[in-house]
Amino acid sequence: MNPLKALVVKEFKDLLREPQILLGIILAPVLMLGIMGGIFSATFSSVREAAAGRISLAVLDLDGDIYSSAFIDMLKSTNASIYTVSSRSIDEAIVEVASKNLKLLLVIPKGFSGNITSGVKAKLQVYSVIEGFSLSSTIPSSAIQAYIVSYEHTLVYGLLRRIAPSIDPSFVLDPIGLDEYTVLRGSVVKIPPAAIFQRLFGQSLMLPFSMFMVVVVAMQIAATSMAKEKEGKTLEVLLTLPVKRVYILMGKLAGSILIAIIGSISYLSGFAIYVGSFTLIPVEELAELDLPVESIKIMEIPIQGYIVIGILLILSLIAFLSIAIGLSALADDVRSAQSLLGLVFIPLVIPFIFSIFADANSLPIALRIVVYAIPLSYPILSINSIISGDYLTPSLGIVYLSIFTIIILYISAWFFRSEKILTAKIRFMRKAKVSDI
């Protein structure tokens, strides 16, 4: 068998069967995030259904006049289920409502109609019977507000027709309309930026997040793979086998990347379920927005953009994994290796945060240099560059990352060829054992 292929297969099998990796990186993310997403999704959909569905409402009409009757008639004309309480005081009504297992009591106080007639702000009272604080306990009182607003509109329409028949009531209620446009690269699209963000959610958030995940997961796996060799005392034999030392490094890189891709697919699947569970605008409503697809296409990453981002990602992966493997070779066991790895996670997080929340080019020059000195900045920040038609930054990124990766690979290959791979370690004040000699 090709030695490199044999090493990759060995790495893949050994890592994939590692309980920490199989459970922690491959199964747990999709299961945990999926379950959490499922719970959120079920809760949100029950909230939406409840909000849109039939509301059971108890009504205590202490006014008993024209406007309270009209309001109750309007409520009866909707799909709300109205229960008229027999009690004549609020305290008794609350007890009655609770005994009927109803959640909502609408009280129309005495003088309600009189106030409206005389142009004084009228009041309504709503009592919510709750058993605990949860999202669902807020639904009924929110729902009744919609009915009240609707009745208000009816009142205003009636009033305006009476006092100013020539004026369109809808104009008085909503005299200013708003058309939102987004201008990108000179093209004007009649869509608010938030809608575009939602539509392009995949590339604006999921893509940088998935790249971040692949790199972080792959680094953890690569570090585990190398530290396992030391902890399990397999490294000595491995280094004396008839394969080029650089193949051992490449085998670990390839094996880690393969497992990381599987792990990331699991994570992103779980993440997609999780995020999708509480998306503000449901998918069907988003479709109803009727966004002009052709116009949006200019904001989508073209195929050559994905190729450029892919090259940048692979170069970053090779560089970061080589660093992870080198670092973990200094540790005696998997746990120490993971601790050492924490050192390089911080520079990984910086470009990710900027890619989502800020524009790196608007930073002060010193900070910009720091951000662009970090290899993972390029694949993530290049997304925005490519969308805005700037291929210079990603191209410079490829050049910079190639040089960076070659230097890191050269150092790693030297490290693997030298005896340091076996002897170098962070000793934490521990002296060498005599038996090691």
Binding site: K13, T240, L241, L422
Partner: protein
């Protein structure tokens, strides 16, 4: 051509520990050569340098004419190394591990299969060879490692405490396997052991090492005669002036 030439070997670790101090010896082809000495004498360092894991500070080592520093890759093609504490990837089965190693040495699938057949016989693991290595006892692991080392029929087998962790029955069986491989395939074996019985049983010649230097060399019988001793332990103690 000598199987192994070690000349004026000095090894000083980066922390300043001097492990070897001018060690010199040669091993003939198809010979079983033993290194004996107390902990810290430099045996493991010597074996690791010959196995291309460590680099000498001074001096040189050649394996069948190949320099272990400049021609390390060529050396690795003709050696097989068994460290004292050799682990195996716990998530692989014994068979998968042996297949992985055979695949790296063999030039054809038939050759790899022949290696695996040999290894199955040496290890004596039977159907357990298909189990994950993490379920193996220490003795089973050692037998798997000895099988891995010998199955590739290296020109030079470097064995550091080959029967460590084995019971009497399996230790005896492994020694017989090593002897058979030397007799049948002409292997050269360089062995380090604390087990003097093993050294006497296996070795054609022995080097006594103390504080990184060779103290004396010869066949077990000639050494016992020279020091008028009944066993190799006494030989060593007399050679270093402790009794």
């Amino acid at each position: 051509m000598k199987a192994v030439e070690v000349s004026d070997l000095v090894k000083i670790y980066s922390d300043g520990t001097a492990a070897l101090d001018g060690l010199t010896f040669t091993v003939e082809q198809s010979e079983i050569y033993g290194l004996i000495g107390p902990n810290g004498a430099g045996k493991t360092t010597t074996l690791r340098i010959i196995a291309t894991l460590l680099k000498p500070t001074l001096g040189f080592v050649r394996v069948l004419g190949f320099n272990v520093v400049g021609q390390a890759e060529k050396v690795r093609r003709i050696i097989s190394y068994l460290p004292e504490e050799a682990g195996v990837y716990g998530n692989l089965t014994g068979y998968e591990y042996l297949s992985f190693v055979a695949g790296l040495y063999a030039r054809s699938e038939d050759e790899a299969k022949a290696m695996l057949d040999e290894a199955l016989e040496i290890s004596g693991l039977g159907s357990r060879i298909r189990d994950r290595v993490k379920s193996y006892s220490r003795g089973m692991l050692r037998r798997l490692q000895v099988a891995r080392t010998l199955m590739v029929k290296p020109k030079l087998a470097i064995l550091d405490e080959p029967t460590s962790g084995l019971d009497v029955y399996h230790a005896h069986y492994i020694r017989k396997c090593i002897r058979r491989y030397v007799d049948e395939y002409g292997l050269t074996v360089l062995i380090s052991s604390h087990n003097m019985l093993e050294i006497e049983y296996l070795c054609d010649r022995v080097l006594l090492i103390h504080k990184g230097r060779g103290v004396d060399e010869g066949s077990p019988k000639s050494l016992k005669d020279r020091y008028a001793s009944s066993n190799m332990e006494e030989v060593f103690l007399k050679a270093v002036g402790l009794i």
